[in-house]
Amino acid sequence: MNKVKGKAIKYGDNIDTDVIIPARHLNSSDPAELALHCMEDIDRDFVSKVQPGDIMAAGKNFGCGSSREHAPIAIKASGISCVIAETFARIFYRNAINIGLPIVECPEAAREITEGDAVEVDFDSGEITNVTKGKTYKSTPFPEFMKKLMASNGLMNYIKDYRPE
């Protein structure tokens, strides 16, 4: 999972968890079912246009609002391989890491990506390449602690490794 490549789907600032997955669908926690309603309140076409491996790009404060892990779960289950944003809301940020949805904070790249661009992300180097626009950006790679966490494929596996018997 060190590199992903896909077509970009672009959104604006302050995309909140209520539009990522509306609360009326929270009486289920089944990823496949959540994916069916992902982004539906802001983009009715998302579910039909998203392809496995696509990359979501957005502006500031992505994932603001509730703590529902259903939000990154819905995005991941819909096939998105990585979310690039100018900034993330903090609970969304940790939820994404904890469930293994790759996310990258990079204001410049996020701003310049437009819908449909082919984008490549290298998680080891933190490098983002907009293939369509022929431009490369540098983001801060994850600190060791989180890389380990992501390498164990999420927090639960990580704590299994470290929890004292």
Partner: protein, 421 residues
């Protein structure tokens, strides 16, 4: 360099003598919270990982409050997962329908959080307990699952913004107006990843219920937590509700703050946040003529006794405007009972308002007051995102209990002054 209140609490919980903003720490927690939406996901993760006993049966609180009393079969099944897990693990603080309340009103009332605690909850408004001088913050379900097993979690130590409060609130102005005013000023990402620390002599003039409302909405400015300096009122509240030992933390004189704001409480006016972001604030004088279909008085922001008293003061001897639905939701069973004893519920019913058992209900568009296409609501809740209370073409205006009650009477968004009071 000194530490902020938040940094000091975290340092004591991770065995560090000093912390700086940006440090990644593994930290002990005093309480782990979850509700009927987030806990089933946590339990699934917990079981999948093959974990058995919880770290401490007394330090986990499970509150089915969102879609309860169960609104449909799926919700009933989610709640059942919670109930069975609580039984199986012997979790002491599971609150069944009939004894529950909206989690963030309930936990302080039950004495489960005191000053100096570190609390995580799989709910974004867990930041409410900062009113008590605790560090508390919302996390996700996986964080919750891990913490239930280990009693620990990971944090990036936050930097902070300081709010120095002076003066005293005017009549009909409340903590809700203060926090809406602040969010309007610093925007919904104004405190992203940071602590909002509230100090200054103005804090003393704020009731505990005002402080709960303010800390509650720290997340709406993107903050990791909101925390108040502890004073006599906080201590009186804590000793009146809890037998747990508590500890008071003050920021060091040379603690580093990224920004500091001086807020004169006396200057704050009733404030309304327009759709679809809490930062779209206007004072009541600039609201204009907005007709409404529904009023919600309740939620973890404003469903406390003082909120209900304010609403009742306005609704007493008046009627909810024809064509407006006014729904009052006391946040906990205790608040419900107190409101009953004080005669507030009678006032609401005589005014033509509906009174509900404690639930999050309409706050997140769950049940008990969903909006149709094109409808507008004034709500004392905390979020007015697209579709938050129902149809994606409905609108939510966030306001204080005073503004909500006055608007119920006139059918337009107004402050109590409009009623000549």
């Amino acid at each position: 360099m000194g530490m902020t209140m938040t940094q000091k609490i975290l340092a004591d919980h991770c065995g560090a003598s000093h912390l700086r903003a940006g440090d990644l720490i593994k930290c002990r927690v005093d309480l782990v919270l979850g509700n009927d939406i987030t806990t089933p996901v946590a339990i699934r993760e917990y079981k999948k990982a093959g974990l058995d006993e919880v770290f401490d049966r007394e330090k986990i609180a499970l509150v089915p409050d969102h879609f309860t009393p169960n609104k449909d079969i799926k919700s009933a099944e989610q709640c059942k997962i919670l109930r069975e897990f609580a039984q199986e693990k012997g979790i002491l603080n599971y609150f069944e329908i009939g004894e529950m309340g909206i989690e963030h009103a309930l936990l302080p009332e039950k004495g489960l959080v005191v000053a100096g605690d570190v609390v995580i909850g799989a709910d974004s408004h867990t930041c409410t307990y900062g009113a008590l001088g605790a560090f508390s913050t919302g996390v996700g379900s996986t964080d919750m699952a891990a913490a239930m097993a280990t009693g620990e979690t990971w944090f990036k130590v936050p930097g902070a913004t300081k709010f120095i409060l002076t003066g005293k609130l005017s009549k009909w102005v409340s903590g809700k107006d203060v926090i809406l005013h602040i969010i309007g000023k610093i925007r919904v990402d104004g405190a992203l990843y940071k602590s909002m620390e509230f100090t200054g002599e103005g804090v003393r003039a704020l009731s505990m219920d005002d402080r709960f409302s303010i800390a509650n909405m720290a997340i709406e400015a993107g903050a990791k937590n909101g925390i108040f300096e502890v004073d006599e009122k906080t201590e009186a509240y804590i000793t009146g509700h809890s037998r747990k030992p508590y500890r008071i933390y003050k920021a060091d004189d040379d603690a580093q703050y990224d920004e500091a704001y001086q807020i004169d409480l006396g200057q704050i006016k009733p404030t309304v946040a327009f759709p679809h972001l809490p930062e779209n604030t206007r004072t009541i004088d600039d609201v204009g003529d907005i007709k409404i279909d529904q009023v919600i008085i309740g939620s973890c922001t404003n469903g406390r006794l003082e909120d209900l008293r304010t609403a009742a003061e306005i609704l007493e001897g008046r009627k909810v405007s024809k064509g407006v639905r006014c729904i009052v939701i006391p946040a906990t069973q205790k608040i419900y009972l107190d409101a009953m004893k004080e005669g507030l519920l009678e006032i609401f019913i005589n005014a033509g308002a509906a009174v509900s058992t404690p639930t999050c209900g309409p706050c997140l568009g769950g049940h008990m007051g969903i909006l149709a296409r094109g409808e507008k609501a004034v709500a004392t809740t905390n979020r007015n995102f697209v579709g938050r209370m129902g149809h994606t073409e409905s609108e939510v205006y966030l306001a204080s209990p005073a503004v909500a009650a006055a608007s119920a009477v006139t059918g337009r968004i107004v402050g109590p002054e409009e009623l000549g009071i």
